[in-house]
Every structure is written in structure tokens, then in C-alpha cells.
């Protein structure tokens, strides 16, 4: 298969007054051309940091401690700034978290995208760029007459579409979308995600979707990676990870989420909060909150290994039960913990 992006043992820390924040620790994965990866995890677990590392857009206080980011075979961190600028937008584009607020209020939306195109492709003339913006608007479902309108004349959903059009402007091979629809209503979210997916399939583009919403990730991802406290705990084909989660954190996350599907079942609470990354727990970073934790988990960092084809895991005591439709979540939980809760007595 044609590997487009590959992270090898990526480790990145932020320097702060209180010390080093260990935001990314030994993250490795590969993404093929045309494939979509969904990254899920709680707030602060390092999703945005991974995205920024791939864009090489890290803030000044970030330090690449170890590892490589290979894009199309090139090690991003050995390229010159100029070479990276060439790659950005034309090869990798990003839709930033809360991007709909990032449009410049004093320029029309169309002009901002035209500007982005001519900046990144000096060989493209302004008229040609305008024509391209028209077809991009059509692609993302904004009437092209709205090109010359200003951001404040757009609704939230339209602004988000404009930002997607901007990301698509230079035909990148990969788009990273950080919480692209979190602030939007479900009907708008549904439309936008369908549009992105259709475009992705049509032009064989790769996507990395970042979200804390497992339902959104389930719908758009070919492969799913679960992050916790700066580490990947599990990564594999979406069907596999959702149906047969192996890491207890993945398992809990899948069952902590309310759904409109099926019978109402007990929601699992994951006790406690994610750790402080200034001083992360020893061994498996999830061990203080894990019902499956053993002595080994507290002392030894679990290795990142491939358990079945394309399904990677870091865990000393993988979950064995199937995540079926019965949602019998208490089956493997330690006595006296979790499993209680709302849902069973709800309704009238």
C-alpha cells in the first residue's frame, strides 16, 4: 500500500514555568493515501499537539524530543522552513479547532481563499484562483454569489464550509481537521461531514479527523486511534476497534457515551481525571483510573505492538469480551467499581 504519512516514536514536550509538559510520548502510526484516521481522546490528551507536529506548526516552547514525521517519504523535521512552507497547504492542510472564528472579518470570504491560493501557488493568477474558489464553493455547498460577502454575513455552518473550502484550495493529499463540527448543530454537522467524505473519496485524499465525540469518529474513520495522556493506547480498523476494543480505556470510552441507538444501557463513568502531564504516572499512564490495572501496569510501560493485522495495542491486560449490542458493560469490571448509574431507571 501507498503510505502517505508515518509517525515514528514521536515524542514532543512543551516547556512551561512549572516544568516540561510531556504532551506526546512515543506515538507511531501510518496513514495510507486515501485513508481516513480518527483520533479520539479526552481534552488535553495531545490530539491537537499531534496535528501541529504533523503541520510543523508547533509553538516556540515546544521541543521535539525524539522520533520522526515522514510525509511522502520526507522527514519533515529535516526539511528547511521554505520546503515545509511548500508542503503546507499544497500537500497537508489543516482545519483548525474553532476555525470558523478564524476568518478575517475585514476581507470577503472569497478573497481570503483567493489570497491563500496565490500565496501558496505563485504560478496561479488571480482570475484563475477566483474560478477555482467558485468551484470550491460549489463543492462545499455555498452559493457562489456569496463569495464577496464578509464572514459576519455567514452562519456558523457556512463559515465552517468556507474554512473547508480553504483547506481544499491547493488540492492537498492530506487534510487534518481538528474538531471540525463540534460547535455545529447535528443537521449541519451531518451535511458537512458527508460533504468532506464525498470529496475525500472522489479525489482520493487522506484525512485525519480529531474529535472527542466517538460517534462522529465512528462514522467517518477507516482507522481509529485512541489517545490518552500523550500516548496512543490503541489503533486499528474502525470496525475492529469499535466492536472488539482491547484496551480498557477504549472499552470504557465506548460505553461512557450516550447513544440514541438500541436499548438504553448503563453509562460507564471513568473515575477521576486525566493526569497532569508535567508528572505523568509511571508504567501505563492510564493505570490510576483503570479497573484492570495490576502491579505490572504500575511499573512497566506496556509495549506498542500489532495484535492482529493493522490493529495495534499498548496494554498488559487486554479486554477479552466482545463489545456486542447487548452492552453488558459490567461483565469485566472489578467488584464494587463503576457500572452503576443512570439509564436503567430512566424514562417513565
Amino acid at each position: 500500500m501507498d503510505t502517505l504519512l508515518r509517525l515514528e516514536d514521536l515524542t514532543m514536550h512543551y516547556k512551561t514555568k512549572a516544568g516540561w509538559v510531556q504532551a506526546i510520548d512515543n506515538v507511531s502510526f501510518s496513514l495510507h493515501r486515501g485513508q481516513s484516521l480518527g483520533l479520539v481522546g479526552e481534552s488535553g490528551c495531545g490530539k491537537t499537539s499531534v496535528a501541529m507536529s504533523i503541520m510543523r506548526l508547533l509553538p516556540y516552547n515546544a521541543k521535539l524530543v525524539k522520533g520522526r514525521v515522514l510525509f511522502g517519504g520526507h522527514d519533515l523535521y529535516t526539511l528547511s522552513d521554505e520546503e515545509v512552507r511548500q508542503l503546507r497547504w499544497k500537500e497537508v492542510a489543516m482545519i483548525f479547532q474553532a476555525a470558523m472564528n478564524s476568518l478575517n472579518p475585514v476581507y470577503s470570504v472569497g478573497n481570503q481563499i483567493v489570497e491563500a491560493i496565490v500565496t501558496h501557488e505563485p504560478e496561479t493568477g488571480e482570475d484563475e484562483a477566483r474560478e477555482r474558489v467558485k468551484s470550491l464553493f460549489e463543492l462545499v455547498g455555498i452559493p457562489k454569489e456569496r463569495m464577496d460577502h464578509y464572514p459576519h454575513e455567514y452562519s456558523g455552518g457556512m463559515k465552517q464550509r468556507a474554512v473547508i473550502a480553504m483547506a481544499l484550495a491547493c488540492n492537498p493529499s492530506l487534510i487534518i481537521a481538528d474538531e471540525p463540527t463540534t460547535a455545529l448543530d447535528v443537521i449541519v454537522q451531518d451535511k458537512i461531514l458527508r460533504e468532506i467524505e464525498e470529496i475525500r473519496r472522489t479525489i482520493n485524499m487522506s484525512m485525519i479527523y480529531i474529535s472527542h465525540d466517538v460517534s462522529v469518529i465512528a462514522e467517518v474513520s477507516d482507522i481509529v486511534g485512541v489517545m490518552y495522556a500523550g500516548r496512543l493506547l490503541e489503533l486499528g480498523p474502525a470496525d475492529d476497534v469499535f466492536k472488539r476494543p482491547k484496551n480498557p480505556y477504549t472499552y470504557s470510552l465506548m460505553n461512557a457515551y450516550p447513544s440514541i441507538l438500541g436499548e438504553k444501557h448503563d453509562l460507564v463513568t471513568i473515575p477521576g481525571e486525566p493526569p497532569n502531564l508535567l508528572d505523568p504516572p509511571t508504567g501505563c499512564r492510564f493505570h490510576p483510573r483503570c479497573d484492570w490495572a495490576t502491579k505490572e501496569c504500575r511499573e512497566v510501560e506496556p509495549a506498542w505492538r500489532e495484535i492482529t493485522k493493522g490493529h495495534y495495542l499498548a496494554c498488559h491486560n487486554p479486554v477479552r469480551t466482545e463489545h456486542g449490542t447487548a452492552h453488558n458493560k459490567t461483565a469485566r469490571r472489578a467488584p464494587g467499581k463503576g457500572g452503576d448509574g443512570i439509564g436503567t431507571s430512566g424514562g417513565n
Binding site: 479526552e42 481534552s43 452562519s155 456558523g156 455552518g157 448543530d185 447535528v186 443537521i187 449541519v188 454537522q189 451531518d190 461531514l193 458527508r194 472527542h212 465525540d213 466517538v214 460517534s215 462522529v216 465512528a218 462514522e219 474513520s221 474502525a238 470496525d239 469499535f242 466492536k243 470504557s252 470510552l253 465506548m254 461512557a256 457515551y257 450516550p258 447513544s259 440514541i260 441507538l261 438504553k264 453509562l267 460507564v268 463513568t269 471513568i270 481525571e273 448509574g341 443512570i342 439509564g343 430512566g346 424514562g347 417513565n348
Partner: protein, 332 residues
């Protein structure tokens, strides 16, 4: 509480009748003509004691406005709100104190609703101070008890911190503690979990369900997340452009929606199963604003099932089609 026999066995804590709130808006620079935005338009519903009623719908449909009217942060254009048989519009003087204690609102944004210069203790104790409840020692004890109840334990670790020293989830718990410390009987909770992570969110959902059991609180729970509403609410009311279009038991709304809008809304909710290929929601266009709306059905422009007669007819009334399931649609 003495109830007239007609209300049957149900003990109604909140009764909203024909409630409307119109805001004057300027249409363009050159016209002097005032238009009216119908934020809430002739809405009626009840909440029973100990019940959680969910209010769901797209952004701008009037959920927060409805909540603000109930807690008297805004004044209705018309209509009536009764809480425990007292007309909210007529509360004055000393009774206002009691009302402010009995009825609380938890706000949409945990980042903006807490005063950044106050300690957690001061924030949670403030409603007690304002209402002159208890001695200092008693207040201290109540604040500590409330913090433990919302899972901020041990309270001593939080009392003297400031909001920016807490995570989003912890801040939201502080907001809940503050609303509940005066032992309200009715709480309007506006999206209290929407910007939180699942693990924290589930914790807060469970907390609210628990407090309802323990303290007998009734809630109006505002959200646009139908999956959350399904879990937390006994009944769900669906709003569209200022109107309630459907109201019924949560499971009925989620599993057997009847109104064309509710059907579209439910079918747009993403599902946590990659194997399911969710069909395209059946709805046209995008949401607009209810400025000087036509008297017909508000959903007409986007309705995939509309009949020619819907264009001419008045806006359909919400009516019971059996089993307490209410729908506003001419074709049902």
C-alpha cells in the same frame, strides 16, 4: 399543596401557558420599520414535580430564551408562567427573595458564568449570603457539603482556589453546586455538559440524576444533544423557530418521532457504530431566523412532507395524538 381535582394525580411544579417573547430588530439601515423576531412564540408546557423535561432543538430556536423567561431574567411579551401555582410575573418584594432561592438556572458556558476574581467558596456561598441564609459556620458547612455532593472532594482542596485553576468539568460542577446550595425546587440547566469531555459529562449527568432522586429537584434541561436528552430526561420537547413542534416520553421521541422536523433531527445524530450506514436526513435548506414569520407552519420551507394545504393553513397547534404524545402538524 392543595391541588384542584382536575390536575389528577400529577403534581405540576411549572406551568407555562401561551408564552411568547418577541425582540424588536432593525431590518437594514434605511428602513425605520421595526420587525419582530419571534424568539419564543406561544409556547405551552408543564413540568411535573421530580421530573426532568428536556428542551431540544437547533441553535437559535429559543431554548435559552425560554429558560431565561422562566427564571425571570427576561420579561415575556405575553403569556403566563406559574411555578408552584405562583404567577412569576407578579412576584414582588420579599417574595422575590424566596423565588430567587427556589428557582435556579445553570448557564450554558462554564467559562463565563463564574466570576474569575472570586474563590470557589465565595462563588458557592454567594446565593446563601444574598438570601441571608444561616450563620457563617452554617454556610461554610453547607458549601462543603455541596462541593462533596458534586464530587469536588475533599472540599478543602477546592475552597480557596479560583475558577481558572480548575478544569472545565470542575468549573461546571462549581456552577451546579452554586445553583443547588440553596436547595431549589426547580432548576433550568442550559447545556450544562455540552462542552465537556465524555467521562466528565457522564459524571455530571449521573450527578444531576442523583440529585434529582436525593433532593427531589425538577429540571428543565436544555440541550441540542438528543443522546444526552434521552438519558437524562423523562420527556422531551422539540423546538423549532420559537415553537414546540413535538413533546412526548423520551423513548417515544427518540425511537418513534412523528413530526417531520423531529424525524430529521433524530436521523442526523451520529451513531457510535461504524457498521451502520445512516441514511440521509430528510430535510431541505438551512435554518433561518423567525423574523416576522408567516402565520403558517414554521417548518414549511424545510418540510419534506408538506402538502399544498400547509402553505395556506394557520400554524398547526400542538395536540395530543394519544398517550401524552403531542405533535404540531396538519398531516398527523
Amino acid at each position: 399543596m392543595a391541588l384542584p381535582a382536575a390536575t389528577e394525580s400529577k403534581d405540576v411544579i411549572l406551568e407555562v401557558s401561551n408564552l411568547s417573547k418577541y425582540y424588536p430588530v432593525n431590518q437594514g439601515f434605511f428602513t425605520r420599520q421595526k420587525s419582530l423576531l419571534h424568539a419564543v412564540d406561544n409556547v405551552s408546557f408543564q413540568v411535573n414535580r421530580g421530573e426532568v423535561l428536556g428542551l431540544v432543538g437547533e441553535s437559535g430556536c429559543g431554548k435559552t430564551t425560554t429558560g431565561r423567561l422562566i427564571v425571570r431574567l427576561a420579561t415575556p411579551t405575553s403569556g403566563r408562567i406559574l411555578i408552584e401555582d405562583t404567577d412569576v410575573a407578579e412576584i414582588k418584594g420579599q417574595d422575590m427573595m424566596e423565588f430567587r432561592q427556589k428557582v435556579q438556572m445553570i448557564f450554558q458556558d462554564p467559562y463565563e458564568s463564574l466570576d474569575p476574581r472570586m474563590t470557589i467558596f465565595d462563588i458557592v456561598a454567594e446565593p446563601l449570603n444574598v438570601n441571608g441564609i444561616g450563620t457563617f459556620e452554617e454556610r461554610e458547612a453547607q458549601v462543603e457539603e455541596m462541593l462533596s455532593l458534586v464530587g469536588l472532594a475533599p472540599p478543602s482542596a477546592f475552597l480557596f482556589r479560583f475558577p481558572h485553576e480548575l478544569s472545565g468539568g470542575q468549573r461546571q460542577r462549581v456552577a451546579i453546586a452554586r445553583a443547588l446550595v440553596v436547595r431549589p425546587s426547580f432548576v433550568v440547566a442550559d447545556e450544562p455538559t455540552s462542552m465537556l469531555d465524555v467521562s466528565i459529562r457522564t459524571g455530571i449527568m449521573k450527578l444531576m440524576a442523583q440529585l434529582r432522586e436525593d433532593l427531589g429537584i425538577s429540571y428543565l434541561y436544555i440541550t441540542h444533544d438528543l443522546a444526552v436528552a434521552r438519558y437524562l430526561c423523562d420527556r422531551i420537547a422539540v423546538m423549532y423557530l420559537g415553537k414546540i413542534v413535538e413533546l412526548g416520553n423520551s423513548e417515544d421521541i427518540v425511537k418513534r418521532p412523528l413530526h417531520p422536523y423531529t424525524k430529521a433531527l433524530i436521523s442526523a445524530v451520529p451513531v457510535p457504530d461504524p457498521a451502520i450506514d445512516r441514511p440521509l436526513p430528510n430535510i431541505k435548506g438551512g435554518v433561518s431566523k423567525p423574523i416576522d414569520p408567516k402565520p403558517r407552519c414554521r417548518f414549511y420551507d424545510r418540510c419534506p412532507e408538506s402538502a399544498d394545504s400547509c402553505a395556506e393553513a394557520e400554524n398547526p397547534e400542538l395536540r395530543d395524538i394519544g398517550g401524552g404524545h403531542l405533535v404540531a402538524c396538519h398531516l398527523l
